[in-house]
Amino acid sequence: MVVRGFSDPKLVANLAAEISAIGQMDVQLMEVCGTHTVSFAMHGIRSLLPKGVRITSGPGCPVCVTSDSDLSLALQAAGMKGVTLATFGDMMRVPVDGMSLLDLKARGADIKTLYSPLDALSMAEERQVVFFGVGFETTSPGVAALLREAERKGVRNLSVISCFKLIPPAMRALLQEGGARIDGLILPGHVSTIIGTQPYRFLVDELRVPCVIAGFEPVDLMMAILVLLRMLSKGKVELVNAYPRSVRHEGNSQALSLLREYFEPADTEWRGLGRIPDSGLAVRAEHSDMDARLRFDLKPSQVQKPSGCRCADVLRGLIAPSDCPLFSVTCTPESPMGPCMVSSEGACAAWYNYG
């Protein structure tokens, strides 16, 4: 199989030695992908790095960056009579004002968790189904495929609450206004598989941050760090694709064109980063009959923030999870206070689980 070798401990050791050979450095690198967050923690990558090389997690966990007001739309739809709300599993446990989708389900609301968005289609043949869509460019094309299938098969009971987000605009907001030190970026391999390398050019050309697109195996992660450290030690600012077995320069054009057929960029709110222009996806006007916000007149509600939760600062890389006063005291994976502890891909949950 193609990935054989990418978890080989000998290759990881080779890379660790190359990294040490660069010499003493004081750098802060950021990854912006929940799957990277888990990979770094699970494989113990930080323990292989020299002391001065720190890896932080940015706004790359979809569940974590979904705002309370967007989540309130899903809670509203789930509370409607005759409506089935379908979503991905991780969203179920995030509390908004003390109430999560899971709590609503326990009170009798019809809420289903799906592995694939297409599973919503057969459900919608018999009842009104609202798909609560969260995620980045890796996930949203599949939901565009779902909407096309619904149209082709004449399934009229399906609609979507689109809370999809786009990574490049968030990178700009993070670097220009986030306030955290970021010497180099480890870019998400599967978002890049869809969007290609070009949308990141501004990061190096305009904002002058070295960037590496990385895969998810231990060798991929160590290689990305080595390339970034070499660039930093030589004062170079480049965009390097270190995941060429999956990421092409042009991305996946078929997925992108399907995505553009059903969705268009829209301003959206990110937990931690606030409202960012054109950083989300809304259902295109031509397909507005499948926009659940319009079909059910859903309106976001103002919500109280849980006191003391510092997810917003964690998502900007301003503090480590363990710097939050709630971390592992009143906030644990069993009883999470904020989304970064709810999602298994959240930085707080990864720190807690793999310490």
Binding site: M1, Y115, G142, A145, H190, T193, R245, N252
Partner: protein, 74 residues
């Protein structure tokens, strides 16, 4: 959430396909990827094939890193 699993395509029927990973078979869709053939290694995310994996690029990376180690005598 952006987890994607490398699988091998075993059967294709229009936009439906069967893919296998480590002996486990699952039904996937090909809405997002053109020119997929039986035997192709693809990345699968939330039930959709999102890209073909290029074995030659993977092998090249492994070769370069192996050589790094050999040259330095690790």
């Amino acid at each position: 959430m952006c987890l994607a699993i490398p699988c091998t395509i075993e059967e294709i029927n229009g936009l439906d396909a069967t893919a296998a990973v480590a002996g486990v078979r699952r039904r996937i869709r090909l809405d997002l990827l053109e020119d997929v053939r039986v035997g192709d290694a693809v990345l699968v995310h939330s039930g959709f094939a999102i890209q073909k994996l290029r074995a030659e690029d993977a092998a090249e990376v492994v070769r370069v890193i192996t050589e790094l180690g050999e040259r330095a005598g690790w």
